[in-house]
Symmetry: C2
Subunit: 378 residues, 2 copies
């Protein structure tokens, strides 16, 4: 609908929007496509509530979004509840409580809305749709690879031709540095990928850190460089796990655009293994992110959250039903037939002076005339 008025600036709180036709339909269809693809890959849907007790919602990995969680007083229990700001902790809770006895690996999927207390300058939205998958159970490279190719397949199902996946290993730098809080200047330098500052603050670790910085880029090149760096055993194990994950991805999806950044770790607050971000080609949009984490009970899991709102801006729009005007008095059977043929039928509520004019006024492309759908010119 192109004839809408500009919104009154104070109509909705900042970061909340009305999706209008045809955007709301496109977003719903996109989410249906993503979840149907997850289902075809064996991920079974669950639907946690929008609201939980604070104590369960913010447990484990949920603590990372505590500041972004709206709180509500529950008049029934007199306890504090939170509105989810992220779905992954809820799925982890379901996996380790209601579905504790379900066979592992346990593959779950979800789609729904989240609320955030504050938007940022780059991402002002405070209601964010999420559609995702979680693979609960074995901590193996094949599991990390599976969620990545499943997410890439879901994006391909929406008509997005190509995506780029950036792999990181968030525990690697902390494993090398020990207590990262004792190295504030160095962490800042790593975060900015500032080689001069890393050299200045890296001390004895500077050569290793600079080599790791160099080992970022296209997966196969980066993995070769990573293999050549001399690393302490626990750090080497993490680097090898990253390489094994690349190999497992390649076995399933050889052509996926894959980069590695072993130095990146600050954006992945609760990740305990391989983490990732999925970008549009050229990185102009972030389609999703995820990685390995521990459930509240210590069980390992990995998952990816896709952002339908972001994907919607890039994905091809779904074909909508052409709109067919049925003049008042058109038999009900004609409408049923036209809908079965793929039209959206718009019924006249009263006789119109000119049916074709009325059809155009109602944004119809077709008019029911003489027992059939006739395309309207102009």
């Amino acid at each position: 609908m192109t004839d809408d008025l500009p919104p009154h600036p104070a109509l909705l709180p900042a970061g909340f929007t009305d999706l209008l036709p045809p955007d709301a339909e496109a977003e719903a269809r996109l989410t249906e496509t993503l979840t149907a693809s997850f289902g075809a890959h064996g991920y079974q849907r669950v639907k946690p509530p929008l609201v939980e007790f604070e104590t369960t919602l913010l447990a484990g990995s949920g603590a990372a979004v505590a500041e972004q969680t709206f709180r509500l007083m529950d008049p029934e229990s007199q306890r504090m509840m939170g509105v989810r700001a992220d779905t992954t902790p809820q799925i982890a809770r379901i996996a380790t409580t209601r579905l504790a006895a379900a066979a592992r690996p346990l593959r779950l999927a979800y789609a729904g809305q989240c609320l955030l207390v504050r938007g940022s300058q780059l991402a002002p939205e405070r209601q964010v749709a999420q559609a995702g998958i979680e693979l609960i159970g074995p901590d193996v490279p094949e599991a990390d690879a599976e969620i990545i190719v499943t997410a890439a397949a879901a994006l391909a199902a929406t008509g997005i031709g190509e995506v780029s996946v950036d792999l990181t290993m968030p525990p690697l730098i902390p494993a090398l540095l020990g207590d990262t809080s004792a190295h504030a200047a160095l962490v800042r330098a790593l975060d900015r990928k500032d080689a001069a500052e890393i050299a200045a603050h890296g001390g004895a670790l500077a050569p290793t850190l600079l080599a790791l910085l160099e080992a970022a880029g296209t997966a196969e090149t980066a993995i070769g460089r990573l293999a050549a760096i001399d690393l302490p055993a626990p750090v080497r194990a993490l680097a090898d796990r990253l390489s094994a994950t690349v190999a497992a991805i390649r076995a399933l999806m050889p052509a996926l655009r894959l980069t590695i950044d072993p130095v990146e770790f600050r954006g992945y607050r609760y990740h305990t293994g391989v983490a990732l971000t999925i970008f549009a080609p050229g990185r102009q949009a972030e389609f999703g992110r995820g990685g390995r984490y521990l459930c509240d009970n210590g069980e390992s899991a990995t998952g990816i959250t896709l952002y339908p709102d972001t994907i919607l801006a890039v994905a091809p729009r779904p074909a909508l039903r052409p709109r067919l005007f049925l003049p008042a008095g058109t038999p009900a059977e004609a409408g049923a037939r036209a809908r079965a043929e793929g039209f959206a039928t718009i019924r006249g509520l009263a006789a119109a002076a000119d049916d074709a004019d009325e059809a155009r006024r109602l944004s119809c492309s077709h008019l029911w005339r003489d027992g059939r759908a006739v395309p309207l010119e102009g």
Copy 2:
């Protein structure tokens, strides 16, 4: 999944639940079916936010759900926001602001979650899904009829064979009594359909009220009785509008089970014309309700909200993809082919001692063996 543990009683606040497999999938598919049917009938989807400023959320017809609305303080604007307890007022807001210039009649659809502050004994849920349609514009019987047959068609699309629609005219009794608050005992008697008490408290209106009480039942019978009652002109106009709506429904859907209750009015707090409830046959479940109301700017509209959670309990379950186990190392192309054939593929992450046992352990009905999907016995 039948092997889930019983939920810990205090895990979630009362009235909030986790939907597990396969229920969550069934609910999502059901909602997709409803909204696809709305779309085929020309209702275009909109998606208002979960949260709005209290001032807009509770304006107009939204005032009816003020007590059931959770409030949140917005840290950005320092104003109070509410989480929607009903979607209709939001659609009316969109229609009269963002879409004020869109052609009338304006047909809009929606689907989403609502939160309620308190559950009742009969309906303990505090998160309620809604899927509905609103027809904004002409106040004519054909519009009232259209939303009813559109809702009935959407329910039929879910596989529900038959529904029963009960029509009421909430302004009729108030138009007859004048100020209803001056007739508390009589209103209570009408509410209970207690003929003796109506006779006792009805005064000069008692014969008319008892005749209206008698004029409840199957639409055609009731309309005949309603036509024979002597009513003041404004009340007669309302009764005739109810009859005209029945005629308009019959023109579109002759076989719909239709009853009328002209005395019912207390459950329809903001309705200004024909209102309705859609029941499962036998009335064991309420699938939806709706009716005519005024938007905040005085524009007339009518709509119906369906309750997917209630429908889910009655509707036939969708066929799910049969689960096919792909032993570790199965080529990626085989999985893609099996998914295209309608299977949900479950990939082995490591070699299993016995592929068939592993497939059964993961609730698969089929195993990929010798290049094809083989059904598993037992």
